[in-house]
Symmetry: C2
Subunit: 277 residues, 2 copies
């Protein structure tokens, strides 16, 4: 194991303060770093290609279970990584989710080649979705259902610790690009110019999802929880879609609707010889 050993984080208060700051979106942007919290998602991080900058493990977790089984592999990938044992109370004071479960990491944001991104055939666009749980769940569903990248306009920051946790590892695998609300109209035109058909999820109206033949390249736009998809997405290459619902029902949660639409696009695409397992 060479010099790789777990150090005690005691008087290194600078690091604790720096980690606290990463719960702010502006600081995350400036530093190009983000927080990852929770047993499962820290494990997903360790097994991904994303660079880990710091790893903090809770004292009672280490006493009860010893080193996590993936730590050796992570050190092989990043021999310089410093791993800290932290008092449980310090770890919980740093946690932005209900509990860190003894696992907290600082990771470096992957850099993104926009040109590469636009070569995709299946993009997810989250337009002003506020709830971190919804954003995270949609990224997780997107990765599982064949999405190649996600564009996010306004709404919750995809590197918000709550989003990272709900995404269950999807932020380590999916290329993500965030733009400001003022850029919405220009992004809509750009996707159209790049050959994407803009699919929008609507509560009512438009085509029924059932029986749809997916276009060759598409960007599925999901809108804010209450007010729906911004009118700037109604470009010329625009297909409004709705999921047929029972008469008593008003609407679906946006993460449920997104999962259904991505599933149907994958299923219908596979039926006519596209990708599927």
């Amino acid at each position: 194991m060479n010099s790789m050993e777990i150090e005690l984080l005691g008087r290194h208060n600078r690091l604790v303060k720096e980690i606290k700051r990463l719960s702010q979106s502006a600081i995350r942007d400036e530093r190009g770093r983000f927080l990852v919290e929770g047993r499962r998602v820290v494990q997903e991080l360790a097994l991904s290609q994303v660079e880990v900058e710091e790893l903090l493990l809770g004292e009672s977790l280490l006493q009860a279970e010893g080193e996590p089984p993936w730590l050796e592999g992570l050190w092989r990938r990043q021999p310089e990584l410093r791993v800290w044992m932290v008092a449980d109370s310090v770890l919980e004071s740093l946690s932005n989710t209900a509990t860190s479960q003894g696992f907290l990491a600082v990771a470096r944001r992957p850099t993104l080649e926009l040109a590469q991104f636009l070569k995709a055939k299946r993009l997810l666009v989250l337009s002003q979705i506020q709830d971190p749980g919804n954003v995270g769940t949609l990224l997780r569903s997107g990765l599982a259902l064949g999405i190649e990248g996600a564009l996010l306009c306004g709404g919750a920051d995809p590197y918000n610790p709550k989003v990272v946790r709900a995404a269950a590892g999807a932020v380590f695998h999916l290329p993500l690009y965030r733009f400001r609300e003022e850029e919405l109209a220009s992004w809509s035109r750009r996707l159209e110019a790049e050959g994407f058909t803009i699919l929008t999820a609507e509560a009512h109206g438009g085509r029924s999802l059932i029986g749809i033949e997916p276009p060759r390249s598409w960007a599925l736009v999901l809108g804010a929880e209450v007010k729906g998809v911004d009118s700037a997405w109604q470009s010329q290459a625009h297909w409004p879609l709705h999921i047929p619902l029972a008469p008593q029902s008003e609407s679906l949660n946006v993460a449920a609707a997104g999962a259904i639409i991505m599933y149907e696009l994958a299923r219908a695409g596979a039926t006519r010889g596209g990708v599927e397992s």
Copy 2:
């Protein structure tokens, strides 16, 4: 409007205390009542057939907007209903969700005829699902996608205020029946005896959801977030189902998986001449 007027809730501390108690599951069971919080879901309650026992409206909400537009209709349905204006601080102290948005009600649980319930063709079974947001979202999706009733075993109480809010009105329309974990095996046998095929959602293995022909009567069982469906559901009339996922992905969130499976069952059922709009 007769004597129907909004009263000031000031010294009626007995009511405030009683409402506070309703955040406990055991008290809700004992009283047969539950709390409903938030603008949208209180409106859904007012427009449903569920009996409203108390309605509390926030002071600044009433000052800014006046009486809610649905209040007259609710009073027509329930002329005896008492409606209270409450200081915002009192209302927020009673709220179990992030904010009540100025709307809080006490409602009476609908009574359920179990025999009626078992005449359904499409049931949802939530087996030990802990997260209130997941339970609420699944009930909301279920109502929208043609489910006729839900059985809940362990996990979050469907009358937990967070579940009620996430369900966006579905608890007022869907027949719900809750049973204890000890009764799991007997409920599994009972559903089978009543002619239901038990569909279980699995992370891997079993039949692919794509291409499935739904049986005539089915009960879809979704299991706990991490450990999955309890083995007691693996009866003789049991179809394990999985959603084909991209290789990088571990699994879907249970509410996303449930939405996809219910959608596919409705879609495939409709294709061979079942129900759909």
